[in-house]
């Protein structure tokens, strides 16, 4: 039996700013077991990065309100200070960030950046630490690893740098790896290489992987389960196959429709989602996607829908008039009859 390594319950992270409290993450819950990959999908402002940083405890010291519980291997870390988190960082949980150039120290050799973590957490000789670093570089498919140990980040390409970041993250054998948009800054062929490395390392080490991305294509191939976030909340949660075959949340559907797909002929008109995400200082009282939703009804603007289970176990969504349901189809038809532009969405 695989107990949850990570248990996130009703986590909220609010930032105190001039304009007021920004509800960046507003009540997120999920669990993650070792050996599993959870994809967190959302756009800018959805709260996905703040969520991953909240789990790692990488938040500013002041002006942050944290609520809810984060349990790592049974231990509560939801309100932990950086000092308390230090024993987890590197050794139990690690993070790979979006931009490898700014994540690596430009004036430190690659080798030292990897051994730094090893020497801090593991009780080994320097020689052994260096050997371990070389074998880590090999395992993340960095060619000519011995030579790279003595190079600086600027001498490597973006893809290689990101692989070095992965090596740094894996150095002490953490059980949980968080990857925040690890391939967004990389070219598509390099992206494929880096994602492959992440996947094979996860398998070999039986790690839990939290993969944060805006790219639905990335989660489709690599995640077991997906959380879709919008305006600080989870709006849909499902196994990857269920999400793509039976999505219920109009936002998920809208997102998928707005992406140009390779299989479509050129000049296919994209169904863009009109408008922008709501202001998180004063989130709307009803559904946060209401202003942009083609299924919207009065109830949506008044009452925020809770996350409700669907037909398939493990599938939850936050919608009064979900996609592919009779009430959803009626809502869409009503809007179309009233003359609303619903793009290529049809009842």
């Amino acid at each position: 039996m695989n107990d949850a390594l990570l248990e996130v319950t009703d986590v909220a992270t609010w930032f105190d700013t001039d304009r007021g409290l920004v509800h960046a993450v507003d009540g997120v819950s999920f669990t993650l077991e070792r050996g599993r990959t959870l994809g967190i999908v959302g756009e800018s402002g959805s709260g996905k990065t703040v969520l991953s940083r909240s789990i790692m405890g990488l938040l500013p010291k002041k002006g942050v309100v944290r609520k809810g519980s984060i349990k790592f291997d049974g231990e509560e870390i939801g309100q932990a200070t950086p000092r308390q988190m230090r024993k987890y960082w590197g050794a139990s949980m690690s993070m790979v960030f979006q931009d490898p150039m700014t994540a690596l120290n430009p004036v430190m050799k690659i080798g030292n950046q990897i051994t730094e973590s090893i020497n801090t957490h593991l009780d080994v000789t320097r020689a052994f630490a260096r050997e371990l670093a070389v074998s880590l570089l090999e395992s993340v498919r960095v060619p000519d690893p011995e030579r790279r140990m003595d190079e600086y980040p600027h001498q490597l390409s973006g893809g290689l740098r990101q692989r070095v970041c992965i090596a740094v993250a894996l150095a002490c054998g953490p059980q949980l790896l968080l990857a925040d948009e690890p391939t967004t800054a990389l070219d598509v062929t390099v992206q494929a290489q880096v994602l492959d490395v992440l996947e094979s390392q996860q398998r070999e080490r039986f790690m839990a992987l939290l993969l944060v991305t805006h790219d639905l294509g990335v989660v489709a191939g690599r995640a077991d389960e997906v959380l879709v976030m919008y305006a600080g909340q989870v709006v849909e949660k499902a196994s990857t196959t269920t999400l793509f075959s039976d999505m219920k949340m109009p936002y998920t559907e809208a997102l998928l429709r707005s992406i140009p797909k390779i299989g479509e002929p050129s000049h296919t008109r994209l169904t863009a989602i009109p408008g922008r995400p709501p202001d998180l200082v004063d989130p709307p009282k009803g559904c946060r996607f209401a202003a942009r939703c083609v299924y919207v009804q009065d109830r949506c603007r008044e009452e925020q829908p809770p996350l409700r289970p669907g037909m398939v176990p493990g599938h939850e969504f936050r919608c009064w008039f979900p996609v592919g349901t009779p009430e959803g189809a009626e809502a869409l038809a009503r809007n179309q009859a009233a003359g609303a532009d619903t793009g290529t969405v049809s009842a």
Binding site: A192, G217, F244, A254, S258, K261, P265
Partner: protein, 337 residues
């Protein structure tokens, strides 16, 4: 892979823009960076040519060289019959309103200290088009055309707008001078997914409405396919393949094109990523690129000939051109890694 060759160019009298044998080289520590090495392309009026490739392939440098910003090391750029590379000073300046550019980072491509209304009007001001009243009217027309409310937008500054809105302002600024050609250099890469769709739709609308011809430079293959009438694939300063998108994407002839297509993550869990289709190796240096075909160091089909002889662009099907000694046959799969 490629490179050179003009087999894919159409007759001179049919095209609006014709770039031949463009070379752009920069001096750097250790030698010369051969960013663009003999690229030829053309644009028929009303067409969108998608120029696609990964980092370091030279696509942005090509776009800028076409604009003469900076001037290419060699090659010709014939715009509306006139060779831009031969023009100097005022003569070159006079062509500027006809060819405009939209950049990747919408927020940093707008002057943060100026009001949006002034930014958009600038082209008209410089060329003294009309009078103050007609310029204001034109600015308002453009702002509305790109989906912004002129009354609210005119007096604000760029930092008050989102990335998507700034890109709309950039488009307004580019189109106001009534250009014939717009060069879009990664116009949607810095934008969120749902905003991308809005801007792509907007570009399409503006193209129809204002009779524009576009050179659309991007690394996202799906985006390029969506907007283009014709696609050219670049690698390390050279041209790999040119053709109609529906053909090129279905039956890529060049191994690099196939690798790019195979690498795209598909939002469909039933087609998982396939290890054998992941392109291995690293991109070579463009200070010391491989001899012959520049792609040969990563190509599973490479043979001795590829190192000795650089492939020239040639036609291999109706409107499909490739620079490769051993192009893929229709339906042929390729294994990398």
């Amino acid at each position: 892979m490629a490179g050179t060759g003009t087999a894919h160019l159409r007759p001179d009298d049919e095209v609006l823009l014709r770039v031949e044998d463009l070379v752009v080289e920069f001096h750097a520590e250790g030698g010369k960076v051969k960013a663009v090495s003999g690229i030829s392309l053309d644009l028929v009026a009303g067409e969108t040519l998608g120029l696609v490739g990964e980092s370091g392939c030279g696509k942005s440098t090509t776009g800028r060289a076409v604009m003469q910003l900076p001037r290419p090391t060699s090659g010709t750029v014939r715009f509306d019959g006139i060779d831009l590379t031969a023009l100097k000073g005022d003569d070159l300046r006079k062509t500027r309103p006809q060819m405009q550019m939209i950049f990747q980072d919408p927020i940093s491509s707008l002057n943060p200290r100026r009001k949006v209304g002034d930014i958009v009007a600038e082209g008209l001001e410089i060329w003294q088009v009309g009078d103050s009243a007609s310029r204001t009217a034109k600015v308002d027309e453009m702002l509305s055309a790109v989906g912004l409310d002129p009354d609210t937008a005119r007096n604000r500054r760029p930092h008050e707008f989102s990335g998507g809105q700034c890109q709309r302002i950039s488009i307004a600024r580019a189109v106001i001078t009534d250009p014939k050609v717009i060069i879009c250099d990664e116009p949607v890469s810095a934008l969120d997914v749902s905003v991308q769709a809005q801007i792509l739709n907007l570009l399409e609308e503006m193209k129809q409405r204002y009779n524009l011809t576009m050179l659309f430079i991007a690394h996202d293959l799906a985006v390029v396919k969506n907007v283009s009438d014709r696609v050219a694939v670049m690698y390390l300063g050279k041209l790999c393949e040119v053709g109609a998108p529906d053909v090129l994407y279905e039956q890529p002839a060049h191994p690099y094109t196939a690798a790019l297509l195979a690498a795209i993550p598909v939002p469909d869990p039933s087609s998982p990523p396939d290890d054998s289709r992941v392109l291995g190796g690293e991109i070579p240096s463009n200070v010391n690129p491989p001899s012959g075909c520049r792609f040969r160091t990563r190509c599973p089909k490479a043979q001795a000939r590829c190192a000795d002889e650089e492939p020239e662009v040639r036609e291999i099907g109706p409107d499909q051109f490739v620079a490769c000694h051993f192009p893929l046959a229709p339906g042929e799969a390729i294994e990398f890694g």
